[in-house]
Each structure stands twice: as C-alpha cells, then as structure tokens.
C-alpha cells in the first residue's frame, strides 16, 4: 500500500508544470514534513505515557522513593536495595507462585472452554448469532462490576452459589469461597475464566471461519469425521490463531489487578496476592514507591519474555 502512495506522489510531483530538480526536492521535503505531522502526536503520546513510565520505573527502582520524597524532593540512590528487599521477602515467592497458578489456570480454563464453544457455534442453528453476541457481555462489562457481582454470588452466608448448593442438599453450611485461604485463589481463577471466555470464543471462532469447507469435504472422503477431522484438519489449521490467543492471554492475565482487588483485595492472608497486586500494595498502600517499582519491573521482565514470543508467533502467522 505504501509503495502505491509513493508512486502516486511521484506522479503528482510530475504533474506540477515544468518541475525542476530543486522544486521536486522541495516538494518531497514538504511531503515528509506532512507525514511526520500526522504521526507526531501519537508518537509523542506513546513516549510520554508508555516510554516515560518504563524509564521512570527503572530509575525509581534504584531510589528510596517514599512519601517524604513528595515534600523534600529527595530520593537517594540505593542501588539494588529495593530489589534485594522485594526479592528476599517471603511474600515474593507467594506472589510468584500465585501469579503462575492464576495465569496458568485462567488460560487453560478460558482456552478449553472457549475452543469448545467456538466449535459448537460453528454449527448452524437458529439464534446462533444472537447467542454469540450475548456471550460477549461478560467481556464488555467493567471488570470491577463483574467482581462486585461475583463477590455477592460467592458470599459465604447469603451468596447465590451456596444457597443453590444448600437447596440441592449438597452442603449443609456455606462454603467460604473467597474468605478461606485454600479456596480463594481457585475462586478468583474461576471468575477470571468466566471473564476471558468471550475473547477466546470470538478469536477462535474467527479462525475456524477461515478454514475452507473443502478441507473437511476432502477429509470426509478419506473417512475423517468428528474427532479425527478436528485432530487432522481443524487443529493444524487453527494453530497460528491458537498461538496468538494463548500468548496474548498470558500477557493480559499477568497484569490483571481489578478482579483480584475487587474480589479479595489480595487476601485472605495474601493467598491471592500476585506480583501485580503486590506492586500496587507496595506503592499505593505502603507508599514505598521504589519497592513498588522494583516489583513492577519484575512483572515487565516476565511480560517481555512472552512479548518476544508473541512477536515471533505473530510474524509467522502473518507470513503464512
């Protein structure tokens, strides 16, 4: 596309009556100025609201940046002290394990259920379109709304889930879904799966639509239907989309904060504390901005690994 435009501007340059070399040069320079005028505001925004925070966080992580900094303006350099105290705290391993469990559990659940629903919706049946768009609702609701609703559903004494289980006679006393250290993380993962299913369904459904019907017809002639067709046609054809969904899912899940803060606030007894919530707590509850920044940078490093993976996968998906 851009090469076409280049050609267009050449032609436009030639259309100017009697173009001399100097005038054409001036024209092209003016073109460049215009191009940058269009791009500059966005570039400036990206630098100020993404570039600056990343650099600032690296700097802050080496400083003793606390509430007094806001009065005195002084933030002494402390080298790796913030990293040392953050990484050596017993909370770090808890947060790291919780982050891994939260991410792996959420992704696995969202993906399997999302793929199942996407395959289901590939069949033609009445109300297919309407049901598919209704399914998007959990994804479009503000996350804090979803956590409020789920907190109410999962409430120990008056929540709908326990009421339902009690009315079936399955339990006699309410289960403390969100207030027991052994269940809270699983409950939070469950809610996050619910939130992530629509995204997985939509993207995987789009990928399924792109698989030509002829492939299934040919497979059927060879005797491959049902599960075998899925294994030998659907899955290999869907692989590029699958990789993108999984890697994007991981990157988005790593930084989830709203749901956990809304449901459990990291508790009980830090059983749902992740690196992201821990970074928030350090900065905005303990006002140790330096340590919060150090924790945030750990998260950036982990995300970066998956970001590189994403870019490689994405490039391959585009090339194919």
């Amino acid at each position: 596309m851009s090469t076409t435009v280049e050609r267009v501007s050449h032609r436009a340059a030639e259309a100017i009556p009697g173009p001399t070399g100097a005038r054409r040069l001036g024209y092209r320079r003016r073109e460049r100025v215009y191009q940058w005028l269009f791009l500059l505001p966005a570039a400036a925004y990206l630098v100020l609201f993404f570039g600056y925070p990343v650099v600032k966080n690296v700097l802050m992580s080496f400083q003793d940046y606390s509430t007094s900094t806001f009065y005195t303006g002084e933030a002494p350099w402390v080298g790796f002290a913030n990293y040392a105290s953050v990484l050596s705290s017993s909370l770090f391993s808890t947060s790291l394990i919780n982050t891994a469990l939260f991410t792996a559990g959420s992704i696995a659940g969202q993906f399997v259920l999302g793929l199942g629903l996407a395959v289901f919706f590939k069949q033609r049946f009445p109300l297919n379109g309407i049901l598919r768009s209704l399914l998007l609702l959990p994804w479009l609701l503000p996350l804090i709304v979803s956590s409020a609703v789920w907190r109410w559903i999962l409430d120990k004494d008056s929540g709908a889930l326990n009421n339902f289980l009690e009315s079936l006679g399955l339990i006699s006393t309410g289960i403390p879904w969100l207030t027991s250290t052994s269940l809270a993380l699983a409950a939070v993962v469950g809610v996050n799966i619910w939130i992530g299913i629509p995204f997985n369904v939509t993207v995987l459904y789009g990928g399924l639509q792109d698989i030509p019907d002829e492939l299934y017809e040919a497979a059927a002639l060879d005797g491959a239907t049902g599960w075998r067709a899925f294994r030998h046609v659907t899955w290999p054809m869907l692989r590029p989309v699958v990789s993108v969904v999984l890697v994007l899912g991981v990157v988005y899940t790593l930084k989830v904060l709203d749901i956990i803060l809304g449901l459990t606030n990291g508790g009980p007894a830090n059983s749902t504390q992740t690196i992201a919530t821990q970074s928030y707590a350090l900065s905005f509850q303990d006002f140790k901005f330096g340590e919060g920044a150090a924790m945030g940078n750990v998260l950036v490093l982990i995300s970066l690994v998956f970001a590189v993976l994403y870019l490689r996968v994405n490039r391959r998906a585009v090339d194919e």
Binding site: Y34, A42, V54, L137, W150, W152, G296
Partner: protein, 250 residues
C-alpha cells in the same frame, strides 16, 4: 454464562437490606436500590461520562492521523512506531500508574479530569491506531490520488476524503475507547485521592470496601455502570464484532 448478569439485575431489584435470602425472581421489584445508587453515585457516573467522552475525542484526534500516516506513507520508522504500539499494550498498567502518580503529583494533575482523560487514553490510543490502520490499509489509493489531482493538500484529503470513508472504523475505535475508559479502575484508584473527581468504578470499589449490608444499591450501581456495555452490544452489533476480531489479532 449469563447467570451473573441476570443475578446482578435481579439483586438490584430486591428490597433494601435483604441480605440473608435473595429470591430467584424479582417478583415484587423494588427500585429503592436505584434511588440510593443515583443519590450516592450519580456524581461519579457523571464524572465517568465526562472522562470517557473526553478520552474518545482525544484518542481519535491523536490516533486517526497516525493510522493514516502508517497506512499510506512510506515513513521511515513506521515499523518502529508499530512495534512500539504492540509492545505498549503489554506494559502492565501498574507500572504506568506508578510513574504517572509521581509525575502527576509534580504537575498538579492528580484529582483532575484532564489528568484522568490523558491517562485513560492509554487504553484506547494503541487499539484505535491498530484498528483504523487495518481499515485504512484496505481503502483504495485511487480515491486519494483523485483528490490530489484536483489539487487537495494532505490535510484536505485527510479531512474530507479519508475520515468520511473511514466512518465505520472511527465508530468502532470510538466505541471501544469509550468502553475502555468507562471501565478503567486502575487509574481511577491510583490517580485520584479525594472524592472531588471519582469515576463510578472506584465508587463501586469503595461501596464494597466496607462491610456490605446493602447489596441492592451496590448491584443497582453495577447495573447503571453496565449500561454502556449493554447499549453497545444491542445498538452496535457489527462494530463490536469488527472490534473484537480486528483489535485482537492484527
């Protein structure tokens, strides 16, 4: 899948204080939860609306020219900008908030509507650039060419040809930017410290923070805060479909 949404609406219509047993159907709907919600959260809802609309205008004004430049010109460094956009979507919000808090504190932007609009646009701008660029890539170059032959400059061509033709992409990007900003919680939580400027997401969070004994008003606020998403789903079906698939993979 939709039970929680149903439960939210059902619970919002129950009489106040009915915490112990909530019936499965709102047989005698009671709107006092909504009355409380509007009385206590009305101001926050208005704040959210102003911030979200401001962010839509700001994001489109920044993103549309950039998308055009990336789609049409062979700018040196366009690849770098695209790469930066992809990477920017992976930076955790808490990292951005951490740095912005200190900068906002120096600049006096804490607890201000412009401050929130600027920060919240970080959800919308990368998405809007990607989705509008994907759309403009498919726009025939001959249209621009024709305008140029007629003597229109870049600004004219952009304003009176490219923008009207990209209407659908602009609407999609605008709707999602609105929703992203409306739903924002992290910046509301970190960049506001008083109740002078308080989006409704933070209002709900604070409702939940204390011991909740009035779930019907919390749920009523939740329903009110969900209205943009519900309207979007009903009124703008095809834009939603375009947004979910377009922004995710490309």
């Amino acid at each position: 899948m939709l039970f929680p949404v149903y439960w939210m609406i059902n619970a919002s219509l129950q009489p106040n204080g009915a915490t112990l047993q909530t019936s499965w159907l709102p047989l005698s709907p009671d709107f006092s939860g909504y009355a409380t919600a509007i009385r206590e959260q009305g101001r926050n809802l208005a704040t959210s609306l102003v911030v979200a609309l401001g962010s839509v205008l700001f994001s489109l004004a920044i993103a549309a020219p950039a998308a055009y430049a990336l789609a049409y010109f062979k700018v040196r460094g366009a690849g770098v900008v695209l790469f930066a956009i992809l990477i920017s979507q992976m930076i955790p919000g808490i990292v951005v908030a951490n740095a912005l808090y200190t900068a906002y504190n120096d600049l006096g932007l804490l607890n201000s509507i412009p401050g929130l609009i600027l920060a919240d646009s970080s959800h919308g701008i990368p998405f809007a650039i990607l989705i509008m660029r994907a759309f403009m890539n498919n726009m025939p170059a001959s249209v621009i060419e024709a305008a140029k032959v007629d003597g229109a400059g870049h600004l004219r061509a952009f304003w009176s040809i490219v923008l009207p033709l990209s209407r659908n992409a602009l609407i999609t990007a605008g709707l999602f930017t609105f929703l992203f900003t409306w739903s924002d919680f992290l910046f509301a939580l970190t960049l506001t410290t008083t109740d002078a400027v308080r989006p409704v997401t933070l209002g709900i969070f604070q409702y939940m923070g204390a011991y909740v004994n009035d779930w019907s008003s919390v749920m009523a606020t939740a329903v009110l805060a969900s209205i943009p998403a519900i309207i979007l789903l009903i009124a703008a079906q095809k834009y939603v479909a375009a947004g979910t698939t377009g922004g995710a993979v490309k």
